[in-house]
Amino acid sequence: MIELSRGLGELFSDPSPDAARLAIAEKSRSLTDKLTTVSDAVSRFVRDGDYLAIGGFGLNRIPTAIVHEILRQGRQNLRFAGHTSTHDFQILVAGNGMGNGRLLAAVDVAYIIGLEMRGLSPHGRRVVESGEIALTEWTNYTLALRFKAAAMGIPFLPARSLLGTDTFTRSAARSIECPFTGEKLALVPALYPDVAAIHVHEADRHGNARFRGMSVADLELARAAKRLIITCERLVPEEEMRRDPTRTTIPYFLVDAVCEVPFGSYPGNMPGEYFSDEVHIRAWLEAENTQETYRDWLRRTIYGTRDFADYLQLCGGLPRLQELRRQDLMLDRGR
């Protein structure tokens, strides 16, 4: 295989499959009870300097409680997969530039800072534009493909995007001539995160998990990560999962911790359960305008709340969640 060119970006994780095999050599394969609290899961499984990845897409089906807790516990120097990352990046980057050290040290970027149609995060911009986070560029597909390569237990996969662009130049991809066809291809290295968190509809105590809606890159991510935290809307009995195994998409031996967090994707959307709280997100973006207003906001919403249930109460509690459920079920036909 002839290498043609390589991106200048830094590779923030080791693509070696043998190193990744070694990391899970002692991981439990047994049907043990992994149910725990969010605070305990983060204490035990998210460490300073880790490479972290978060499931979902944008504000949809995200493990918000885990992301809050990583900020609350003040983790430092994490590397992060910025894959379709909107509110999760917004929360994590609040650990930079606010006088609490540096939560994020390096980010693989496919999509960060923006909140899709809602605009850009002012604090996210301030931090990234200051240059204190090292950035390597990717795309939504090639970053998902990096998880897929890791899920397969191999060191890289080829793709026909990235080519010819500055995105390639600032990535850590390489281009090669295909040994079969002579075509140019981009090769992207496997990404084995140290730890990942994924929010699902239902899981049992052992970690068997299932969800509704698009899987985005979560099935690949669950298999790529060395440690995996599952948060679920509802804890269900093991018999319930075994009654319909076709619906299980994350098996128990991938999972290290299970946390039951009802409304756990709030203020994001959870398919079939509740829509995103656009009023809350607007207020959040507004609060980011100055460092003072943002400090107050974070004190109120994250540092000053005991846990996720406390946060939900602060944000309007059951009446608000009921309204968001109506929106998601389109009881008013979306009008």
Partner: protein
């Protein structure tokens, strides 16, 4: 002649470019509205996909996020991002709609940064998202954007997403699939395409009451025009009624 605003005209123009029985990867906003309108007028068999994993939804209301519940309304399948991107790489997705902070004469797009220093950009933007992938894989790339000099630039500060790159043959030389590339740019002033040989952007039609000079004044590069530049047809009563009553009743876009 019914009255209409610039956004309504842009959405109608975008809808008209979509042929029936084709497939389209969309994002939220104008592209989504255009697809919904096209399905209600001339393209009932236009298939929509979202990169988050939704296949063939029958959209009831406009999504806010490319991955929210609304993108899945009456869909044929809920799958993964790799699946959607690989349908595209395989050659099954005909159109994609993209945007960006900057576009150049070859249709290259920038959604990464303003300024040239990658470590300390003047403005940091989200990055590629799925744009680079979809622009590499889909057969026809459509761009809908406002027309001004800051956007239509001689050279993009960062080439996030491939248009025709440096001109004829450049996409193929870079290794991108052969039958792909920029197709239309729809703005609040005009509709543009690309010259078949030079691959440079060129004016196709001017919107009602817009002059060639006004387009040139709002474009940061020398823009060519086809020999017979026509006038963009104004929205029909039917288009406006469906757009206002069914596609965007809350005036989410058309009220801007």
């Amino acid at each position: 002649m019914p009255s209409y605003n610039a956004m309504e005209l842009m959405i109608c123009c975008a809808a008209r470019t979509l042929e029936d029985r084709r497939t389209l990867a969309v994002g939220t906003g104008v592209p989504c509205a255009a697809a919904m309108l096209a399905q209600r007028i001339h393209a009932p068999n236009l298939t929509i996909v979202f990169e988050s994993g939704s296949v063939a939804p029958q959209l009831l209301t406009m999504p806010i996020s490319v991955g929210d519940s609304r993108t899945l309304y009456h869909a044929a399948m809920a799958t993964s991002m790799c699946d959607i991107m690989e349908f595209s790489q395989r050659g099954l997705i005909d159109y994609t709609f993209l945007g960006g902070a900057q576009i150049d004469v070859y249709g290259n797009l920038n959604s990464t940064q303003i300024g040239s220093d990658h470590a300390r950009p003047r403005v940091r933007l989200p990055g590629s998202g799925g744009a680079n992938d979809l622009a590499s894989f889909c057969r026809r790339i459509l761009v809908v954007t406002n027309h001004d000099k800051r956007r239509f630039v001689e050279r993009v500060d960062f080439l996030t997403t491939p248009g025709y790159l440096t001109g004829p043959g450049a996409r193929e030389a870079a290794g991108l699939p052969r039958d792909t590339g920029p197709y239309r740019v729809i703005t609040d002033l005009a509709v543009m395409g690309y010259h078949p040989q030079t691959k440079r952007m060129q004016l196709l039609t001017l919107h009602p009451d817009v002059t060639m000079q006004r387009v040139r004044d709002h474009t940061g590069f020398a823009i060519d025009a086809v020999a017979d530049v026509g006038q963009t047809p104004a929205p029909t009563e039917d288009e406006l009624r469906l757009l206002r009553e069914e596609v965007d009743p809350l005036r989410y876009l058309i009220g801007r």
